[in-house]
Symmetry: C2
Amino acid sequence: MASTLKIALFISIFCIFLVSPITSSKPHPLDSLTAAELLLVRAVVNQSYPSSNHKLTFQYVGLDEPEKQLVKSWLSKPTTKPPPRQALVVIRLNEQTHEIIVDLSKRSVISDKIYNGFGYPLLTIEEQEAAADLALKHEPFLASLGKRGLNISEVICSTQTIGWYGEEKTKRELKVVCYYLDGTVNMYLRPIEGITLAVDLEEMKISQYIDRAVPPMPKAEGTEYRASKLTPPLGPRFNGAPPTPPGQTGFNIDGNIVSWANWKFHLGFDGRVGPVISLASIYDAEKRTYRQVLYRSFISELFVPYQDPTEEWYHVTFFDCGEFGFGIYAVPLEPLNDCPANAVFVDGYYAGQDGNPVKVSDVMCIFERHSGDVMWRHTEAELRDQEVREVRPEVSLVVRMVATVGNYDYILDWEFKPSGSIKFGVGLTGVLEVKAVPYNHTDQIKEEVYGTLVADNTIGVHHDHFLTYHLDVDIDGDANSLVKTNLVTKRVTDKSIPRKSYWTVQHETAKTEADARIKLGLKPEELVVVNPNKRTKPGNKVGYRLIPGSAAGPLLAADDYPQIRAAFTNYNVWVTPYNKSEKWAGGRYVDQSRGDDTLAVWSNRNRGIENKDIVLWYTMGFHHVPCQEDFPMMPTLSGGFELRPTNFFEYSPVLKTKPPQHLSWPNCTA
Amino acid sequence: MASTLKIALFISIFCIFLVSPITSSKPHPLDSLTAAELLLVRAVVNQSYPSSNHKLTFQYVGLDEPEKQLVKSWLSKPTTKPPPRQALVVIRLNEQTHEIIVDLSKRSVISDKIYNGFGYPLLTIEEQEAAADLALKHEPFLASLGKRGLNISEVICSTQTIGWYGEEKTKRELKVVCYYLDGTVNMYLRPIEGITLAVDLEEMKISQYIDRAVPPMPKAEGTEYRASKLTPPLGPRFNGAPPTPPGQTGFNIDGNIVSWANWKFHLGFDGRVGPVISLASIYDAEKRTYRQVLYRSFISELFVPYQDPTEEWYHVTFFDCGEFGFGIYAVPLEPLNDCPANAVFVDGYYAGQDGNPVKVSDVMCIFERHSGDVMWRHTEAELRDQEVREVRPEVSLVVRMVATVGNYDYILDWEFKPSGSIKFGVGLTGVLEVKAVPYNHTDQIKEEVYGTLVADNTIGVHHDHFLTYHLDVDIDGDANSLVKTNLVTKRVTDKSIPRKSYWTVQHETAKTEADARIKLGLKPEELVVVNPNKRTKPGNKVGYRLIPGSAAGPLLAADDYPQIRAAFTNYNVWVTPYNKSEKWAGGRYVDQSRGDDTLAVWSNRNRGIENKDIVLWYTMGFHHVPCQEDFPMMPTLSGGFELRPTNFFEYSPVLKTKPPQHLSWPNCTA
């Protein structure tokens, strides 16, 4: 898929680069590359390849974060010189992929390697648009439109990755799919079907064109979703959220460090993965210090296989982070509706195909959430002479980004709770990917259609979403272990007791990576990351446990190509030892990858993970059988998981919180 | 457990009964019994047993709701005479349980049967208090206190149900457990251990007293949780929620009918189960009519088995609804903290032991929730000439009650979403039930302690919570079926396709009760309740699907007594045909029940459930391994499940909602 509007956001800040050095009021080694830094990277790389006879494209530019130990060492003495600031740059040059490291202070390339393995880098929006544009000028395609009675001016083309299906040799190719507006802006619901169109990205020409069949075009009826165009019958009306007094954000941002209540973390933004939360630590009032929880966390990959194996659809198995980029496809958030009135918005930058910074305004928001839930409460009614009632309403801090990768909008939330929990929330909304069929009623259907008939001529195709998170946990320090707390039934042996059974816990520490490959739901267990070197006063190992949610597993055959590429979804949980290069669960080069550089492959080395600096990987999954309510716009389907302190604190960290001061509605003039 | 404060809430409205007939501005056949009706019931029953020589106690008084068909028939012609209004009254009289039906309009007993089966009715608060009081005057107990050096004035006693452990004959008995305040109000954390004390409730005398051991008393250190007594180090401070303009509740209450956005439902309150949501229906703007979803829903039982099989603990396996009553133990909600500023509070009534109405003020709240989530959104960035961004923030309506059954506070939420979803949320908070041990450090522990050492001398004992919901679904009418939509992997057979596999759905309609006993998580499936007689325009069966959450299963041995009594937790999902008498999953008489009247037994009849008026039962489960953060007050642990429309509507019911009008912060004077 492409995104034409993004191009309009290209910013012209060459002057900044020319006149000012890289500056930041509070520079931090984990800061994302600034616009000025992206410009510097561009200049340095272009200087390395000065000829204008070649095609040089920037496929990915991001912070090459310093080795963890360097960062930690600097953090312990922040007055010393920070670790060198470097960028990882992936370019395509003369049909080859280069991995370049640029040192920003030296303003030079310090490493430049040609990548000869399988798979290709992130796609650029520009090359996707160029590929899509080819279709609109392709004579056979125009003939196909004529055959269908469609008007070229109403056609929008977009791109899909092609996947890998056992081919020995591959070239950088995309598939192009087109949609027909003609009365709707909800293009995904009007696919022009029956056509296979592939584009060779290096030569930028159409490499395959087949017009196999002419399914009917679904009508545009009922696809409109813009408020300005609504016609009766209208849906329910709602009150807005209560207005927030100006300035009452509740948190501070200092550079890229956000601090709120007992939490503190660094917020970054990356073109590939979107938000990056680093150095999340929580203040322990008892110990009078911040204690580490997460060194670095981000969504590592998102695998979306569709389940229609027919000619025009079998390849539709997206890897949204590694192929398209969750940050690149992030969209500006709408004040009051995407985020509440008390939200603060943050911009983000990534490198466009020519290396220039692209700004995404309001790409993330940070807000204090007053959900209406209860943080803790108790009424003590058993005391004879007094009533005790103590209630603390829940207040939390949310960091939100939305990535709209074509039809789907993914709402990503990081929610920090004063109780020490971090909730990783995902909302799935947007528009279904549909297939055109000749049917208006299920009774007419005598063949497999691979989905639900959600409207006339419209099948909502079965698919999955697997979101894999990279969670570099540092529970009160680097050296951590995964403990599986198994709940096991025991028989009572004491004959004087009439009860026959109970359950207890058996702790099992994962020693190697194989011990930590876990499919959730098969047995009752708690998964706890502990720091085995630190114990609480009563002697418990300090830890954080994983509270799963939406833990589906893959249903594709293990030997099927998309599943080989997405083998990182074979387990819901994996643990690996920290390795700076193991960031992206699907591998560094995911487009047409062959599965030789996935989390599953790394884990097969079966390294030691006990009392080591470890990374926890969590995959949440959704099997989506579409329904009519998902048409023409899907109400958000939510999922998530939680990291929750477990014997990390000596006692509840929210025990000593007073109830908030509630403002009443003041005297106001109209 | 008992609750002394409740007694103080007894209201004196005899005069109402004397001077006025039962009136309600908008009477509805499903209205809970009013205070005046409870008084009438009392008078009628007392009239039947005029002698003052016997002990007559009211164990339960609740609406004996009319047969569903009568209600439905009246609803279709609400100008006709409503079905007769009747009360189900369970009394103990001369050591026998009577089930009495009182007709309120006839002001007479129309049925009075002696129950001779196993098990006893709900306990009254008064008899629990009387039992607890016995301990404080029991010489051997006073001696035990002396031996422990404890001061009687600081002792609080409470009660526990005794369970059933294979005894052939039982009598109504309770166990009494005592706690030591002496510097804390957090009594549960200071159990006086080693003592077994049982009370015969009929004779109201101590039937067993053993002082077996003298474990140390945990210190009161760090157990204080009242804001007024906080000492440094303090926890984080928070902003209050944004103030809501007065009167902006967003919903209407007419009699007991709540209407909000596209939802309408009847709200009741019952001493045994708490909130009862009836006749929930959703307005279909397209069809211009309300369509049925739930006829009646409530929490049917809550099973809380502790996992310590030693002498003083093995019996601790509570059934909170059937033994104690979730409505009876409901507590007044605290404005602004338990429920947000825009909440409306509702009072509830139940019958005390003498039949008089007991009022629980502010027992439920209803509020519009602005959670900060997104109802649906889409940014369309692929159109060349325009940007489209439409976002609708989530707004929902919540009905909340909190039942504090001793140490635990259960927050029950019914959340109605404009998208058609109903979310059943549960929050678990309050205080741990702990056991005193001689240890201050885990290294000292060489025996099984059945829990976590959460503080000095304090074991947080392992336990479970199983909450079973009764969901009388009426999806667009009475006749419904459960369809299991199995997701199955298939191999691709078309040799021209390089992909090897995909998944598809196979629908399987549950024909009898056996087909609908489901343990969740064992295979990928969707569970959908459909109305097989109604189809959407494209031909899909109209339905609602169950989206599970927190679906743990039992870990006790199936032949163990508590599990036999709680056999309704053996599956997460069951379906039964509608039967007015099958309301309470643990049986009508749960105290010392023997498992012969549970949902599991009813289901064994294996009745037909296809295209029938059916009831869906859902059990959510939590295994709780306590941790130090749960001490001395547990941060809320949340769980829930959702009923979500699936081809119920022709298209998304929130498509045509405009964004809410957001008020900005107005000009205000201080």
